[in-house]
Symmetry: C2
Subunit: 379 residues, 2 copies
């Protein structure tokens, strides 16, 4: 297995682009990543495209627009983890020596579904009975509040932090700051989750270029090294289970830490999957940033704000940046690349050397068979 | 890179199962493959699921039905090549040493779309203007007939062969034999292609289990070795191009032959992507089984029938077996495994030692940016 580095990153501002095709949304992100990497088209060995709902041959349609054809292109679907999974597959292929330089794309156009919560799979039993995403996370929030005394103020502060960071990210969909009071008076979606607790729906794309360490000299620049990669699916369990513990993230993080020799205290910043404010709090604990039951205290003491002990979602996260499903995984990686390069201006995590991306989800049966992919990067 | 072998194969008879969910269609194929491989659930390191239109988290939904959870699951979309691409990704992961034993699934439920030609991507320019698959292949047939004197009789004989082979395949959707006259009097779809020149629409699933060569001793049995793997996308070209030459297959086969050291004359049987009768003839030439312009003679002299020089589609091919898009790639591999094991009864290619699977397609812009994946296997 060869060492692998990221040599280029780009994305388009997340937002609503109903008039653009999927390819029109994505190609500027790909072009930006290639220019950033200083890689000519002809050097691209393969492309992996993550999308949950982009439709057949999304990668081919996007790359044709740029005249990048005739290469292996693989489209990957894993719900919210589509492009983090695509990144992992690309990493495996380069580490294995199949290709030297590989392009990874994440893309989604949710406006084609007319807005609202994403279209889930009706064949799924839980979904068919109403357990859509906001409902699922609302149940988790209720239970966590009951078990650990979390308050609406704690929950709201996650959204406040997201917007506080996102105001400095030109690629974020929601750039206005907000307050605990504003969050608490926003429209109720699924008690206790209100509109500002839910990531906005939209369109977007992101792309990175990875390269085998032994080929880096061709392109110059300082690569961001991939130092850990993990993917898991949920474990089916019968009987009562702890709704406050995201089993898949907990297990995935434990595996990743063991395999990589990196621990939570080594991490300078993390982009985690805050599709709902409660989700981010659960992940603080599952990723080992604090002990069980301490997430409320952690956000209260602003330990996860930029400038705090371990900044989480300096990009603004899904809550501010938006969550075009398939684009999210690579967009998280783009932020970590920018942070580790020190290019983030007012949202920069000073001296960041190690970054994490955590992408989880699963459009269906959230408790049991979601997917989670976690990566670690270092400069 | 480690050597990789197939140690288990299974599929369900292709057909129409509108009452079953995707998971209900697929799980018996997975169970059959695992039993054939003698692999307990706990040994499965990861699963790759190829589907073009199965919807989000198809692999997770299928495996949950069987109680196979908590492992890495990756869903792959590449139109008609979805599960041949999934197979390649699985092969890379095992060869690279990421996993030891991997399950590969191909699945599709086309009856949920109500039949007819498959739902293509409306954002694609050509599709939006009517260039659906039967129209595309009809144009190719017209041109080939014009250039090389191919007749309706030649075309019909491809369908006759498919049914002649398929009658012996219990997993084929169309098991009644047919005649040149019957093909020529079937309903016109897109001149000169008639109904019997077009593969039937339907549902189905297939699965294989692959294993690293150095772990084979755990499971016994004789593996079918993977001796070549290739994937490509179409090259965009401007100006006039030769519609009788499937560029992507031609280029892919040349690459594969060079990389593997295997040539067309070494191949004992091939499962090729005969979505339309004309397609199979074009692939004879592109895969090097005959020279340009000779495909008509080749089918006329029955060189590609079982018992001929190089049997093509002993399974009955897509024309007889059916073509549930995402299931096809792995189903082709299942047939090659069965042939190389000598388990095919009346359709057995005697003494077969080397087999090929060729899977191509692309729901959109068939001329320019399809996908093609070719594999070689040996016992």
């Amino acid at each position: 297995m060869r060492e692998v580095g990221i040599i280029g990153a780009g994305m388009v501002p997340f937002g609503k682009y109903p008039q653009r095709t999927l390819a029109e949304i994505a190609w500027p992100a790909v072009k930006a990543a290639l220019e950033d990497a200083n890689v000519p088209k002809r050097d691209i060995g393969a492309a992996y495209c993550g999308t949950a709902l982009g439709g057949m041959m999304s990668g081919q349609r996007i790359l044709k627009t740029l005249g990048i054809t005739g290469l292996p292109i693989v489209n990957i679907e894993n719900a919210c983890s589509s492009s983090s999974t695509a990144f992992r597959e690309a990493w495996i292929s380069v580490a294995a020596g199949i290709y030297d330089v590989v392009l990874v794309i994440g893309v989604e156009k949710l406006t084609k579904f007319g807005g609202g919560t994403l279209p889930l799979e009706k064949e799924d039993f839980e979904v068919a009975h109403g357990l859509v995403m906001p409902a699922l996370y609302a149940m988790r929030a209720q239970r966590y509040m009951h078990e650990y005394g979390l308050t609406e103020n704690h929950l709201a502060k996650v959204s406040v932090k997201a917007r506080a960071h996102g105001q400095y990210n030109p690629d974020a969909q929601m750039r206005e700051t907000t307050t605990v009071e504003a969050v608490k008076s926003s429209r109720l979606v699924a008690d206790p989750l209100r509109l500002f607790h839910c990531c906005p729906s939209g369109d977007g794309a992101a792309a990175v270029v990875i390269c085998a360490a032994d080929k880096l000299a061709h392109y110059g620049g300082v690569p961001i090294r991939v130092i850990g990669s993990e993917i898991n699916s949920g474990k089916y369990m019968t009987g009562f289970r702890d709704m406050t513990s995201p089993e898949i993230t907990l297990r995935g993080a434990a595996q990743l830490y063991e395999e990589s020799g990196i621990g939570p205290s080594d991490i300078d910043l993390a982009e985690v999957h805050d599709a709902f404010s409660i989700a981010e709090l659960l992940y603080y604990e599952a990723l080992g940033f604090c002990n069980k039951g301490e997430a409320g205290r952690m956000i209260d003491q602003e330990e996860t704000f930029v400038g705090g002990k371990i900044p989480v979602n300096p990009s603004g996260g899904l809550l501010s940046k938006g969550h075009p499903i398939g684009a999210t995984g690579v967009a998280q990686i783009v932020e970590v690349v920018r942070q580790l390069r020190g290019h983030c201006g007012s949202r920069q995590v000073e001296g960041a050397k190690v970054g994490m991306t955590h992408c989880t989800g699963g459009g269906i049966s959230g408790f049991d068979h979601g997917v989670c992919s976690i990566h670690l990067f270092a400069r």
